[in-house]
Subunit: 444 residues, 2 copies
């Protein structure tokens, strides 16, 4: 294991100088005294590995620090900060650092959601610290509280808004009535969404974070393949309007929930929340994560979920922690066996509430017929609402010629039963269309 | 230093079996496998020190664990959990444990707010872990995020609702129009307030927590004597009504704020918050803490602030962390010099916004005269409002015979200037009474 006495500086190698990396470099150079004081020993940034030393950056990194030789840098540093993103070469470089016993700090959610368990095992093997607070929730301290503060409790559910891009888009659609494409363009213009927005709008970024949160919360080796993922591209203005009319807002949530004795369902999907729910008022680029534990009850963590400066705070906090461990000569122990094995369950095993929006015939007995379908599938109805009457072109039609809108909110039911209910409803003659089926989180 | 191999159990001594202690004992007995798995080594509760072994408790502790000999228990345990509260014998027992190198977990805010720095120094001397997450915010992970997650950042302000009793009382006054005394009686009846409510309603409990939060946030040896403390006993129904009419709610806040290059002001007082402020909707026994840091920006932590079961989660999280450190053979290092010295400043140095409620003569030129007083003291006015006209008996009087109510909200100003402004206002002939002066926090 790499160790440094209090006299000789701990050396730091930084991989990547994007928006977060440039801020980390700036702090390590301009605020070296602060970071050294917090560690309790001098620290020194010895190099920044980049692809192109000439590229423009948010902060001008001194030329003598820049290198294109990431491997040599990894081989010299006591502590490696990986901010390259993506699977490779990030994965190989982190592995190389850990095998040397160097501490590693990373914000690489994509990598952790695929190889997190394997890298943690390598870290435990060599006793090297591996920290990754910046991978979920930007500046928000969420992984450390889950791993350490709640280590004497049993977490049952983690649920959060963990992707600022989709939160901004849904927020715009809700408040300005913008269509998805327009809200996306606006987000791109403002720099909140990338030129290729797939990872955000299809929910892949949130799914990686759901895997990381679920793995830590339930002490289980979950990967992104265990996450049921639906993005926001199918959310329409009409969905948002109908939700708003019933007092709901649509948010993209990442949810990891344990069902006792069975396992955990990990899922990312657009979700209806009552406007009074604390997560409903999380706007724009902010993130918030709810954690429910058996003894602690409900906790919420809120803050800036992205951006170079806020995220650099999480990276530097991890750096100080890892450096302190190295300074103390602490060997990170192999994780012990978890107290219980929590397998990943398919989405069919989820139990949640649902909102179903239908166009039905405006005839006597329709509601009874529909209610019967729910009852037959053991899905209990919490509320039914007939907000207005639609014409064939979707406009509100007050003369009842063409049919009625019917909205149903169920009590918690199993995904499988709900899917069967919806299939049966679609086959009914009196149901002209099931226009939307959305999951709902009502309790905090 | 006390160390245990993976084979022999880490022994735990519990001091105190009140509402939190009984829950901690229950978990350590009933969930011993869970806690052992989390630590990575077997743990064993070897004794619970109480004053009266026969007293009824929330959970029936096995008779063979109960003892009245706290000192012997401290001398045998690898880890001591102190939940006695109060200065002594808690202080002497913690000191005794730390000097043996035993780990200590405590939730004793009163003791920490007086001797926290001294006990931390003792812990560093012997290399023993000393954890106290449960001392502030009940189940909410707040101290660890401040100490560790934000260790690479500069915290500028910590502001929170940290006392559930006063929050419940103010909430009742706000929502039901109850008088302070009635709301207090109701809180006592429900068990939210103690028979002697002084520590809560006079703000002493919140002040201890402000000292702990400020000391950790600013790496400074603050004690409760550094905290300016005003309780809620002087808050009247009229204050709350007037605040409500202007869109504000009154909360008891604990605030630790750094003024660059000068120092920090620590204060506890009833504070006006706009109803849209995230802290405004924190109800009943819930707590919430805002933290502002230079890079991270604004963070909020929310959860249950009291109660045996929630608070036991924080104690057990600390226990697992301390036990892991002992298991890893980690020696806690002496804290290094802080990066900067932050002295405690008197309340006169605080800069915040103020709300002033006056009864003034209903004459021409009054507003100009009053505005002049503010300007003379360099206190800038953000808003002025004349909501209604009062008669001598306090009822709204629409014929303007007796005078007008005038409410002023200032821009941030120094406490000293504000005090001088108010003194001058009181001496004006046109000002019949300054009915209330409250500090306001408008920004999140």
């Amino acid at each position: 294991m790499t160790m440094a006495s209090a006299a000789e500086p701990l050396t730091i190698g930084l991989l990547g100088a994007g928006s977060v990396g440039a801020q980390v470099a700036r702090t390590l150079v301009e605020e070296r005294d602060l970071i050294s004081a917090r560690v309790g020993a001098p620290v020194r940034l010895i190099g920044v590995a980049v692809r192109d030393v000439e590229a423009p950056r948010d902060w001008r990194i001194p030329g003598e620090l820049l290198t294109t030789d990431a491997e040599s840098l990894v081989d010299q540093a006591d502590l490696v900060i990986e901010l390259l993103g993506g699977l490779e070469p990030a994965g190989a470089l982190i592995d190389r650092a850990l095998r040397r016993g160097a501490g590693v700090v990373t914000g690489n959610k994509a990598l952790l959601a695929v190889r997190g368990g394997e890298l943690a095992a390598t870290a435990a093997e060599t006793g090297a610290p591996l920290h990754f607070e910046a991978s979920v929730g930007g500046a928000i301290p969420i992984l450390r509280p889950i791993q350490e503060s709640l280590s004497g409790d049993r977490i049952t559910k983690v649920m959060g808004i963990v992707n600022g891009t989709t939160n901004y888009i849904l927020d715009q659609m809700d408040t300005t009535g913008a269509a998805f494409e327009d809200a996306l363009s606006e987000a791109q213009r403002l720099g909140y969404a990338e030129a290729d927005p797939t990872a955000d709008v299809e929910g892949h970024d949130a799914a990686a974070k759901a895997a990381i949160l679920g793995a830590l919360a339930f002490h289980a080796p979950f990967t992104i393949d265990d996450v049921h993922c639906e993005g926001i591209t199918a959310v329409t203005g009409a969905d948002i309007e109908a939700a708003a009319a019933s007092g709901y807002v649509i948010k993209l949530l990442a949810i990891a929930e344990k069902f006792d004795g069975e396992g955990a369902v990990l899922r990312v999907h657009p979700t209806l929340l009552p406007r009074t729910h604390p997560l409903a008022s999380v706007r724009g680029a902010f993130n918030a994560v709810f954690v429910v534990a058996e003894n602690a009850g409900e906790l919420m963590f809120y803050g800036q979920g992205a951006g170079g400066v806020p995220t650099s705070s999480a990276v530097l906090g991890d750096l100080v922690s890892a450096a302190r461990l190295l300074r103390q000569g602490t060997t990170v122990l192999e994780p012990s066996e978890p107290a219980e094995i929590v397998p990943a369950l398919p989405i069919e095993k989820a139990r949640t509430q649902y909102y179903i929006d239908m166009e039905v015939a405006d005839e006597e007995g329709v509601i009874a017929e529909i209610a019967r379908v729910f009852a037959d599938h053991h899905v209990s109805i919490e509320a039914m609402r007939q907000p207005g009457i639609v014409s064939v072109d979707g406009e509100v039609d007050t003369d009842h010629d063409n049919g009625a809108v019917l909205q149903v909110v169920t009590h918690p039911a199993q995904e499988k039963s709900l899917a069967e209910t919806v299939a049966t409803l679609k086959a009914l003659e009196v149901v002209r269309a099931v226009t939307s089926v959305l999951r709902v989180e009502i309790e905090q």
